[in-house]
């Protein structure tokens, strides 16, 4: 066997010492020299925060605490491992992969126990050589340099890399979709499907329809996909996305429910199911799913105090006050000294006290909540702010409620789903349509600002247009439409009026901001593509 592991840093995560030793001995026969060991998930993550490993071999079953999947999720989420890292989950069962899907992080490979050095070697070699080849593409994607990534991909496709050809084609089609080049994406997927009925190619065609705004077409692709490949979980995730975009919440619940049946261990799907069922008033399903999310969250990076309070809120609504209080007590135990958790608990307690006729206690709790909200200094999540506003309305403090709502609506004016949440909240306190004027006025103001900015730009007043947008962004921080418009005129200005370092820096800062406020990757895709083309032109020009 080739010494493929010489000089590579390797982490073994396994709770059983004898097993750890056995794996280490196998690795020695592959010339490994830099081996670190961890006996549980916490220690594994600690080791990953210190060393940038090339290979992680992680047992799925690690005793009490995190399991291998949770270690992987946390490592990816916290960026403790890079793209080059080969992450292998060792499982005693071969079907572990079945319960995971798009919403979950997937390891590069599963390895079933027991295994020998040869089996380990084949898997490591396969992944190490593939990653070495594809690393250049991934790096450009990470940097947001999509034009460069596409060029690299085309270069490799033109070469003789038969073993990774399908993989490259998949990447190429995904990149095409990302930059809005739907024709190329469709062509690649269709050609692949002519050869073999691959579920991800069917999925890709649906994703393109979705990005192109054809929801009915997308749904048809995903439904057909699930009919033929019912175990392909990503299909359910995408189908639920379509229904969500169409505001068909009952359908969302049905589809997510099917996915949860297949993958009950997936915390993100349980959350999605709980929140959807909660919105449409399906208490039974919501309670079960919230409970699952709370229990799965115990060792997970996706653990969240909002799952606890959502469950407690559900109990409060169904007049199970005792259960609500128990849930809150449990949460306080799990999230000691966490200001957001405390704020969530206090906000709900205000309502519980009011429900039981204790208005004095309710008033105190609301006061405390408002203070905690202030202390969080703008970091209070939007759903929680909405809850506080609701609490204010319930205690006849409309002024304070409106102050909070005003800020929320301005910041999230282009988030239609959230605006629906605001409307639902208003109805729940018997004040339907109360915020409608504010929403409509804010929308009109935004449209006016955007129109004015674009028209200023068209008159050649780039600086004035930017100034206008800068001003608007000051009062509506994180507004996605404005950031996109700023990007558009900046790119247009670069093309029309020439490139200089300062403009490039400004554009880069805007892209960074856009990623920060999580503008949909697909909305940014073609802008990023344009920008990478400009960058290339500029650098090529500079060389001459």
């Amino acid at each position: 066997m080739k010494p493929i592991l010489a000089g590579k840093s390797i982490l073994i995560v396994e709770d059983y010492p004898t097993m750890r030793k056995a794996i280490r001995n196998m690795l020695y026969t592959l010339d490994a020299d830099l081996i670190t060991e961890a006996d549980n998930g916490e220690n594994a993550l600690l080791a990953m925060s210190k060393t940038n490993f090339d290979v992680v071999l992680c047992d799925y079953n690690l005793g009490p605490g995190k399991n291998g999947q949770q270690v992987l999720e946390e490592a990816r989420q916290q960026k403790l491992i890079g793209y080059h890292c080969v992450f292998i989950i060792i499982a005693s069962e071969q079907s572990a992969s079945m319960v995971l899907g798009a919403m979950d992080s997937k390891p590069d490979e599963y390895l079933a126990k027991p295994f020998n050095a040869q089996q380990l070697f084949v898997r490591l070699e396969r992944n190490l050589s593939r990653k070495a080849l594809l690393n250049t593409i991934e790096k450009e994607v990470e940097r947001g340099n999509l034009a460069q990534a596409i060029q690299q991909c085309d270069k490799l496709l033109a070469g003789n890399h038969k073993k990774v050809r399908t993989h490259l084609l998949k990447m190429r089609a995904e990149l095409a979709t990302l930059v809005g080049d739907f024709d190329t994406g469709r062509r690649i997927y269709t050609e692949i499907l002519r050869e073999r009925d691959l579920p991800w190619a069917r999925l890709g065609l649906g994703v393109i329809q979705f990005q192109a705004g054809d929801f009915a077409g997308a749904a048809a692709y995903f439904e057909e996909l699930l009919h033929v490949h019912p175990m392909f979980l990503e299909g359910y995730d995408w189908l639920s996305k379509v229904y969500e975009a169409e505001d068909k919440l009952h359908e969302v619940q049905e589809v997510v429910n099917q996915a949860v049946d297949l993958s009950p261990q997936s915390i993100l799907r349980q959350k999605k199911l709980a929140e959807t069922a909660d919105k449409i008033g399906n208490v039974e399903v919501a309670e079960k799913a919230y409970k699952a999310a709370v229990s799965l969250g115990k060792n997970s990076i996706y653990k969240s105090c909002s799952d606890f309070t959502n469950l407690a809120k559900l109990y409060a609504r169904t007049h199970a006050e005792d259960d609500a209080l128990k849930t809150l007590a449990l949460m306080r135990k799990e999230f000691r000294e966490d200001p957001e958790a405390e704020l969530r608990a206090t906000t709900l307690e205000a309502e519980l006290h009011q429900n039981s006729g204790n208005s004095e206690q309710a008033g105190l709790c609301l006061q405390k909540a408002l203070l905690l909200h202030q202390q969080l200094g703008g970091n209070t999540p939007k759903d929680l702010q909405l809850d506080i506003a609701r609490g204010c309305f319930l205690q006849d403090k409309a002024g304070q409620a409106e102050a909070i709502l005003g800020g929320l609506i301005k910041t999230h004016i282009d988030d239609d789903q959230f605006l629906d949440d605001v409307r639902r909240m208003q109805s729940s306190v018997g004040m339907a349509n109360h915020s409608e004027d504010l929403i409509q006025n804010t929308k009109r103001a935004l449209v006016a600002t955007n129109n004015k900015g674009v028209s200023l730009y068209k008159q050649g007043k780039f600086k004035e247009a930017m100034a206008l947008f800068e001003q608007a962004i000051a009062s509506m921080p994180d507004n996605k439409t404005i950031i996109i418009n700023m990007l558009k005129i900046t790119l247009h200005d670069l093309k029309a009026n020439g490139i200089d370092e300062e403009k490039l820096l400004r554009a880069q800062a805007l892209f960074k901001k856009a990623r920060q406020i999580q503008i949909d990757r697909h909305k940014l895709g073609n802008l990023q593509m344009e920008f990478s083309n400009l960058l290339r032109q500029y650098h090529e020009g500079a060389k001459i």
Binding site: A22, M26, S92, E93, Q94, S95, P114, K163
Partner: protein, 228 residues
């Protein structure tokens, strides 16, 4: 008292955790055996090889049992991707290595490095391992594993230089459990298992299957697995 329904729900759990336990122990057992055999590398002991072989066999049977249980309760599905056919062959060969060395069997491979196979890696390498084990058992000293493209399928062949398959097995429908010889050793069971796994591999209108005959280039039995 546990009701029947509860027992039904409990059984998969008990099975799952028992298998987990056995697999852990087997893994350790196998690695201990390997360590001992490395220590005695200068003077290899047949007993140790036999031990390794038997432990591997237990693992194989356990895995087969589990897969069959899942197929029976409609919980079985494949995890497919594209792999090098050579990797699959090497994996099967590595699984059976202790036995080949024990019996001094020469296992040769004929496979193009660029040949790709779309399949469930674990299941197909195990299936090939099962057939290779049978071939070694009946061979006089040489086995040939090959892979090639044939008529829109990828064909794996395992050929030996033994007596060939008995006539009743050649006539049997391998996918029909009633026609498989369950009593005499594990040949029939193994073939039934491999045929079942093959049948799960589908592409468009093509379905995987197995064929057996006595047209081995080495003069004995020939087994062929076709994957679409």
């Amino acid at each position: 008292m546990i009701s029947g329904e509860k027992q039904d729900a409990l059984f998969p759990l008990i099975l799952g955790s028992t298998v987990h336990d056995i697999k852990n122990s087997l893994g350790i057992l196998l690695s201990l055996i390997q360590q001992i055999s490395v220590k005695h590398a200068a003077e290899p002991l047949d007993e140790i090889r036999q031990l390794e072989f038997e432990a591997n066999r237990i693992n194989h049977s356990l895995m087969q049992l589990l897969v069959m249980y899942k197929i029976d309760s409609n919980k079985f599905s494949l995890t497919e991707d594209e792999y090098a056919a050579l990797d699959l062959i090497n994996e099967a060969k590595a699984q059976q290595d202790p036995f080949s060395r024990l019996q001094n069997i020469d296992v040769r491979i004929e496979c193009d490095e660029d040949l790709l196979c779309y399949c469930d890696y674990q299941q197909i390498s195990n299936a090939l391992g099962t057939v290779l084990n049978n071939a070694q058992r009946y061979s006089h000293g040489a086995v040939l594993i090959s892979a090639s493209e044939a008529d829109g399928y990828l064909r794996f062949c395992i050929e030996d230089d033994g007596q060939g398959y008995p006539p009743h097995l050649l006539r049997a429908d391998l996918s029909n459990p009633a026609e498989v010889d369950w009593v005499r050793g594990n040949t029939g069971l193994g073939l039934y298992f491999v045929a079942a796994i093959a049948g799960f591999h589908k592409n468009r209108d093509k379905i995987g299957f197995v064929e057996i005959d006595n047209h081995s280039r080495l003069g004995g039995a020939r087994f062929c697995l076709y994957l679409p």
